[in-house]
Symmetry: C2
Subunit: 316 residues, 2 copies
């Protein structure tokens, strides 16, 4: 038999993305189809099966070459038992997906949550390639993170490692309440949601900013305004960057990872964000813990989930 291949499934609320990877984390072929979450669990599972068979058929590979199928799920998963506990956006609950897919496809199946597989994807085939220890944070609606130690996803004792968004970093006097119930979580300032909130607040306060002309402010509007020199927007981006830098400094002294990988929509702000994060990080981290440590943008974008899901076989 020739080269082994690994199939990664990114199971989201709208689309199921399927990719074929070789054993070095290279994405060789992709396929995408609708999740059809509204039609129920049976349809979703049927779709996964069909797309996986489809991608191999379309490719130059043989079914026999498939060494395993990994899936990243937007929701809570029981990694050990291979069960989707709750994936609200996909309409799934208490689904023993590993058992079902293994029976239908005749191949070993592994699952994990989307933040962890995205981190593994970047660590295996993206910005962390060749790195043993890295922390991959995703700044989107919330702030999530995956911790990769010794090249593998680190789960923690109850599976809740990497909840970086809920590190309390904002001092009490400035803190607002987070969705988790605590005050001052990183997520309240360094997520897209946090940035939009700060912008709306500034406009509501009547501050002088070009953002007041935007009908429905998105995070990208704030970055664009900051790049144009809008002082209010710059202050908001710096605040998001400051607390992210502070949180990464706290992680650095404890874990001493080699690379922090920052992905998600907010990371698209680019240098205006990264330069400030790096500067705050250097300022707050003792030299010995910061030496040789870099903070870099994610490389794989939306492909990270497929690559990482495939990586569940070679890297865990």
């Amino acid at each position: 038999m020739s080269e082994k291949i690994y199939i990664g499934v990114d199971l989201g609320g709208t689309a199921i993305k399927v990719g074929i990877c070789n054993d070095e984390g290279q994405l060789l072929h992709t396929y995408e189809g609708p999740t059809e979450a509204d039609k129920g669990a049976d349809t979703v599972v049927n779709n996964i099966e069909q797309y996986v068979r489809q991608i191999v058929e379309e490719s130059s590979f043989e079914w026999e070459q498939v060494a395993g199928i990994g899936a990243g799920v937007a929701g809570f998963t029981d990694v050990r038992e291979g069960i989707i506990i709750l994936a609200p956006n996909v309409g799934l609950r208490d689904l023993p997906i590993r058992e079902i897919l293994e029976a239908r496809l005749g191949k070993p199946v592994k699952i994990d949550n989307d933040a962890n597989v995205a981190a593994l994807g970047e660590a295996w085939g993206g910005a962390g390639k060749g790195i043993d220890h890295c922390v991959c944070a995703t700044l989107g609606t919330g702030v999530g993170a995956g911790i990769i130690l010794n090249g593998k996803i680190y789960q923690g004792f109850a599976g809740f490692a990497g909840e970086l968004g809920h590190m309390s970093v904002v001092p009490d006097l400035e803190a607002i309440q987070c969705g988790c119930g605590e005050n001052g979580c990183l997520e309240t300032v360094s997520s897209a949601t946090g940035i939009i909130r700060m912008a709306n607040d500034a406009v509501a306060r009547g501050e002088r900013t070009t953002l007041s002309q935007v009908e429905k402010i998105m995070a990208k509007d704030v970055f664009d305004a900051a790049k144009e020199g809008d002082e209010v927007a710059i202050r908001i981006v710096n605040r998001a960057a400051f607390y992210l830098g502070k949180a990464l400094a706290a992680v650095a002294v404890v874990l001493n990872p080699e690379v922090f990988i920052i992905g998600g929509g907010v990371s698209k702000a680019g240098d205006i964000l990264f330069n400030e994060v790096r500067s705050v990080f250097q300022k707050l981290t003792p030299e010995v813990s910061a030496r040789g440590v870099s903070i870099v943008p994610a490389m794989l974008g939306n492909d990270a989930g497929m690559v990482g899901a495939a990586g569940l076989f070679t890297r865990s």
Copy 2:
């Protein structure tokens, strides 16, 4: 051959402590002799060799049963190469101690720094027995920590994991400079040094406290005064506890360890410290990250170094 035994060496500036452990982390026999650091590296190495031979001779075990010799060193170590890079209190620098001891003793040798081996000792045979993931912090002159993941010491990319004492936790307005050069490190408030400094400051400010009658304030005086109801002392202990709780909350969201083990002189304060640390931790940690997580005192005291050094063989 009968049961294997493991020898743990705790190499400190004043004394070399040697212990024999079985493969379950039980300390069966101990021996202690002077380091004689002032007489130079040769004498120190000779002493280690002699004490190791001595303890086996004194015990009921045979030399053949010794499966390995581990050493915990108060200083910087190159774990991979088995070299003591710098141990100022022991007067050692750039010493390839593994090679030397393996040649002299004819047994495999491993080394690590004292914070890591103490953490491993607690994880293997102490307060973390049976636990996969724990963080062991030592509150002494400074604040150090060892991170045990999957039952093994986690070193980080450059060997600087566990520098918990240098997490920046004190807000700018109250922060003082730490020995590392940064401001507001945990070590400035939650170490014995920090507690003594806060007590001296309070006395110098003329605050009403029984501590003003103590000639040279030690951390224990502050705990004793707090237990007697001295309000200034209670405030100081609460402040040390608050920032420790805050730092542990930051670690909890990232690593989700099962147990935090707190050792060192400051931990002897007992309930007055632990109750406050636990209360702050619960307040600052999202429920999902705090669930099932405990904060407990270290159990092995000064024996942790010997047990953990022996554990370098079975647990790494």
